[in-house]
Every structure is written in C-alpha cells, then in structure tokens.
Symmetry: C3
Subunit: 281 residues, 3 copies
C-alpha cells in the first residue's frame, strides 16, 4: 500500500516547516518579490532573493530549496535561472519551476522548456501554463488562467517525465506526483478564496512556499500538497477577516502565520482523486 496524503500528513509537514525554518532562494519576478518573501516569513520559512548570475549557482548549492519563477525574465535573470537550476540539480537541492505566462509568450516558453533538462523537483502553475508546458496546446492570457484546473491533469501527468510532482492551481488544485514508493497518485486540495485572484502574487508566492516545503518533506508530492493546503486554509480564514482585496492580503499573511497543525487538521480539504485511465506513466 502506498502512503496516503491527508490533512494529517499536511499538519506533520507544517510542523516540520516551523521547526526547520528552511531557507529558500527565490529567483522570482519583480511584481512578486516582496509579497513572496513576506509569505515565506509569515508561513515559517526564510527567503533570500538571489538572481544574479554571479551568485545564483553558489547559493543554490546551499539553499534549502530554490524557486525559479518566469514572471518577468530578462536576459540577465534568464542566465541566472539556468545556472541556479543546474546547480540545484547537481547539489540535490530541491527546486521548483513556476512557468508564469508560458504558452502565450514564445521567448519565455523556450526558457521554460530548456529548464526542464535540469529536472525541477516540482512544477507549479495555473492550468493553462501546465497545459502549455506539456506541449498539449492551451494558451495563456497574461498570468490569469484560462482553463479549468482539472483539464490540466493529463498535462500534469505527462510532465512527470521531467519532474517528481506537478500542480495545477485553480479554485480546486490538482496535484500529481510519485509517492514514496514511486507510484503516481493524485491529490486534490479544495478551499481557498475567491479573493485570491484579486491579489497579485498569491500564485507566485505559493511557488515559493512549495520550495520551502520541499526542503522538509520526504517526497515532492507531499511538499506540493502541504504548500497548497497551507495556502487554501489561510486564504479561507483571511476571507472572513476582510472587506476587499487590500484587507484580504493583510489577513492572508496573518493567517499563514497563525495557522497551526490543529487548524490544518480541522480545515484542510485534501483528498485523493482517481487518475485518468492509462495515465500512470
């Protein structure tokens, strides 16, 4: 029997995060850099934004986890993405690829595909980005998602050729990956808030949180699920304490901080889902 991921295992991962305070290295876009760091600090991790080509590789070798986010690439940061991903792979530092805008934007799509050769530990995106990255078509409208996240499950499974676990964010998050025995399984995380898409960088900062959880969980699948569930629970709590997107963002940081293992056990909605027939590769 393979290990089943539940709200209980998420609670265990959260305790591990709080105890180990993993240090993330972020190579993220200029829109999300501040909020992402605040999300990591609030959740219980730490972050250093190191995205110059001179230091990115050296730091990736010592960081707990690395995030490469394609939100606002330019020639200088694209070069840093490559050396950071390569160094992370060599040093066995878990790293996350967040393929923001891939599909609609050819230049960064090439960068994303090229980065796959360094085998990201996990890939996190919205449905259209995951579909596009898997080469199944799809198209992206800026950083918004045009597709429903369940539609991205086949694409996510096919990306397991390049990564250990893949998530497609949406009103419900669909996550696939190999469990501790190498069996591909699917986990669905429900909850969240309709205000999440009204605050920028909630998705990008989730990518950073994935990098933090990867540093403390036995499998990439568990890390991905834990990050998604932490965010879903915190945003549910935040919505109750807010009157619009401004107060929601503030309450969200507070909730990421105050959520503990008990809150997770009570509120997280984490369920296995049946993979499409023939999907297990």
């Amino acid at each position: 029997m393979s290990h089943i991921i539940t709200a209980d295992s998420v609670a265990t991962s959260l305790d591990a995060l709080r105890e180990q305070v993993p240090l993330v290295q972020s190579l993220t876009n200029i829109v999300s850099a501040n909020f992402l760091t605040n999300v990591l600090l609030a959740a219980g991790a730490s972050n250093a934004h190191i995205d110059n080509v001179h230091e990115a590789a050296g730091f990736a070798a010592i960081a707990g986890g690395v995030l490469v986010n394609l939100g606002t690439p330019d020639d200088a940061t694209a070069a840093a993405f490559r050396v950071a991903a390569e160094a992370a792979q060599k040093a066995d530092t878990p790293w996350v690829l967040d393929p923001v805008g891939v599909g609609g934007l050819p230049w960064r799509s090439d960068i994303a595909v090229d980065l796959l050769r360094f085998r990201p530990t996990a890939i996190r995106g919205n449905a259209s980005e995951i579909i596009a990255l898997a080469g199944l078509g799809g198209d992206t409208r800026g950083v918004d998602s045009a597709s429903d996240s369940i539609d991205a499950v086949p694409a996510a499974i096919s990306l397991l050729n390049h990564s250990d676990a893949v998530s497609a964010s949406g009103p419900v998050d669909y996550i696939v990956g190999r469990d501790s025995e190498g069996v591909v399984s699917g986990v669905r995380v429900s909850g969240g808030s309709a205000l999440l898409p009204r605050v920028t960088s909630t998705g990008c900062s989730l990518g950073g949180l994935v990098a933090a959880y990867l540093a403390v969980t036995p499998t990439a699948l568990e890390g991905l699920v834990a990050a998604h569930a932490h965010v879903a629970v915190a945003s549910e709590i935040a919505e109750k304490n807010s009157t619009g997107p401004g107060s929601f963002a503030v309450a969200y940081l507070d909730a990421l901080y105050t959520v503990d293992a008990d809150t997770i056990r009570t509120l997280a909605r984490v369920e296995s889902f049946e993979l499409p027939t023939g999907a297990q590769n």
Copy 2:
C-alpha cells in the same frame, strides 16, 4: 454640441471596465510593480508586467492597453519601452505614457521625448512632469510635484500635439483632451485624500488604471477622467477608514474594489473647466 463628461459617464465607464476586465501590459518601475497590479486587480482589470525586449512588442499587440512608466528605467527596459510603444501604435492598442521624473533627469527626459513619436493615446503625470515634457521649463524634485496642477494646463494642451488626452495630477486633477467630435475640452476632477502622496505608487498605479480604462472607453479623454475619478472617490472613502498611510493603502485597495457605479454617481466630482483663451489647438 460635444458630449459632456460627468459623474454619470464615469459610472458608465466603470461598468464597462467591470464587464470587460481589460488586460493591461505594464512596463513600470520596480517600486510600483506590485501595488500597480493590485490596484488594477482591485479596480476590476487585469495586468501582466512584460517589460523585456523579447516579448514587449508581441504582447503590446494583443493587450487591451499598455502603460509605459519611466520610474526606474535602465538600458534593458528603455529598449523595451520603445518596442512596446511602437507595437502598440501599429496595433492600435491604446497606450499611456507616465513621464516620471522627466525634467530633472536628462537621460530619461530624452527617452520620454523619443517615445512621443509613437503618439501615446494618453499622457499622465504630475504638474512639473507635464510642464517639463511640454518643454515649457519646470523642474522635478524626484517624483514629487513642485508645481500646482492648474499651472500645467497650458503645457497639457500643447502636448495634445502628441497625444489624444493629457492629465496633470494634484490635489485637483486637470485633464484635457479631444472629445468624440475632436473638440478640445477640459475636465477637472476634485476629491482624493491628503494621504495619497504618503503612499508610494498611487500616481504610477493611476497610470495603469488609465491604460485599463482606455481599453473600454470611446475616447481617451473619457478614459483619463474615469481613472482619475475612480481613484479620487476610492481614496476619499479610504481616508475615512484609515489611521495613517499603512491602513490607508489597504483601505484604498478595498475601496477601489467596492466602489460601484452608484458610488461614483454620488461621490465623484467631475466638472468641465474653461480652457485658457487661444488654447484650443
């Protein structure tokens, strides 16, 4: 008779924004990138910050509106400004020039003047920037405004040689532009809050909101007025719910989100003003 812009027409523009959710492409400075995106999401639009030279032109051709903000230019982004503005003009995508710091800083002043050849649909700045850009002298003190916004009206009118509509922000905003029949007219937007200048990027994000409104309004003049009025009303509401600049910024995002057509009709102070004699060019 030319069409008169009133709080009623602003309310109509707001409804159009909420219905169409225009996608803005921002090429903005690193201070404002996050807040500007949050302002657009809260107000009812969408934003993609795409400012690399490889993708800026392609995206400008499909975006609903483009913002070029000169706040923190460097060689890489300055090149992207040019290709984005050129592509926007070619594709008939409305685009906004926000000439931050122009006047006091010679390097970016040259960039701004060069961008005028791609004929921005609208220009938004503070009084000293508008005066400087028009070549009438003036000087800028960082990004603060040294002049009163009414003093910038003649400069704004002269910039209509390069643009369809021009606004000078201040305690009262003065906006000039051609109406639907090509007649130059002036609109004054009052209101706002004394806390607005205590929060960075409130001006820059207004520039982004102008780009969003231009995507949904029949004339640039109406788009400019609608963005200014939306901001003035939201900041008035926000001031009542705040105890300093931190809580004001939060309440401002909430108010941008909750303001609806009725709020605009009740609170917006939008009036025509007489242009200086001989000003109509």
Copy 3:
C-alpha cells in the same frame, strides 16, 4: 565633555526630519523598493529610486542622502552603486552602505569592500554582515543574522576607519560613531518587536531612514541613532495593534507616521554603552 545622545536628541532629530522632508535617493533591492519608499514617506521624508548608471551620479549630487543597499545586485546596478557613491562623496551628500548578504556571497562582498573607498557616511547591517565586512570572519545566512548584535561591536568600531558611524541591528541595536567632537562613543537602542524579522525589508527600509536622518542631523552618529529609535518605537506601537506579520506591517507604517517628538521622549530607549577597552581608534 562630548554631547550625549538621548531620547531627547532623537526627538529633536525627528522634528528636523518632519520640517525639512529630506529627499533620499535609494539604490535598493527589488524586494524592498516599495516598502522602503513607503517607510520613508510615512516617517516624513521623500524617496526617489534612481539606480541606473546614467542618472545615479547626477542625482546623488543633489539628493539629501543616498542609500546603497546590496540586496539584489546585478552588473547594471553594481555599476550604478559605484558612480552614486563616488558622486555622493564628491558632493558631500551623506550616504549609507547597507551590506546585505556580505560575507556568505563572495561577488557582492567584493562590491561592498570596493565601495568602502568612497567612505560611506554610515554603515548599517545586521551583526553577521558587519562582522563579515570588517573582515573579522562571521558568515551570513541569507539576509538573516546569525550573530548577536553585541558581538559585532568590535567589528563596528574597526569599520570606523571607513565610515563615521556604524550600526549592528538586532533585538538590541548597537551603534558606534564619532560624536561632534570626534570622540568615538557607543549608543544602544532597545525596544522593537519580535514581529520585525517576520516582515521583509524592515531592515533595508531602516537603511533608507538612516539616509534621511543623515540629511538633517549634525553627526552621522545622531542620524543613525535617530533612525534606529524611530523604528524601535514605531514597531513597539505596531505590535500592540497587530495579530500577525501582515497587520504588523500596516500598523508599522501608521506608527512611523503618527510617532512624534513626545512619543519618542516617552518611549525611546536610548543609552550610552561602554566601549570595549582599547577600542577607541
């Protein structure tokens, strides 16, 4: 007798800040750019983020104070750091070096050491950065501090060969510098909040506030102490009005704004401390 720095002198410095509204030029990292500007505006100063090599020197000559922060350097901004520091020195504009991450990251460590030749008016860092910069060893873990701030006092004193005043931030801040008669003395600022390290850029924005105070105080030592005390008092007030790091950051901006000379006199804990024997160089 040399002049003793107390809560009273900090209150005088705050009044000077509010009256003169100094204009800071920041060359800071992309994580802190927005928050730092909001901190300066809330506190009573002004900020222009000008970090391109074409404009950085010219602006440094006219700014009230300059901040060079090494948080996210790349080749382009590193070149701007040099010309800004050089121009500031030539023009007698006070400038602050914030050596973020120095020690653990060799590339930026070389940049920091090179910048010392332009003699920063003040240096502000956490304990491990100050120790590393002084060449006494130490190591940095991202931007967190691994050492206790009192351990950095000997390193801070040795850096007075390159600067007029040096501070090491921590739960208690230790500040050393020459007073108005050239005598080296030490000042300790207590207070603050345990939530400060849970919000990114609180340290970096303190560096910006130092640059603002340097523009209005007779000695660098007084400027450093005033900035640290303003921050310590505001964060103490903010903690009482917050339920986590999100609401703390908001309340912190509000408190920086509402704190006045009387609040400083009542709440600031500013004390001289005995320098280690033989330390006065």
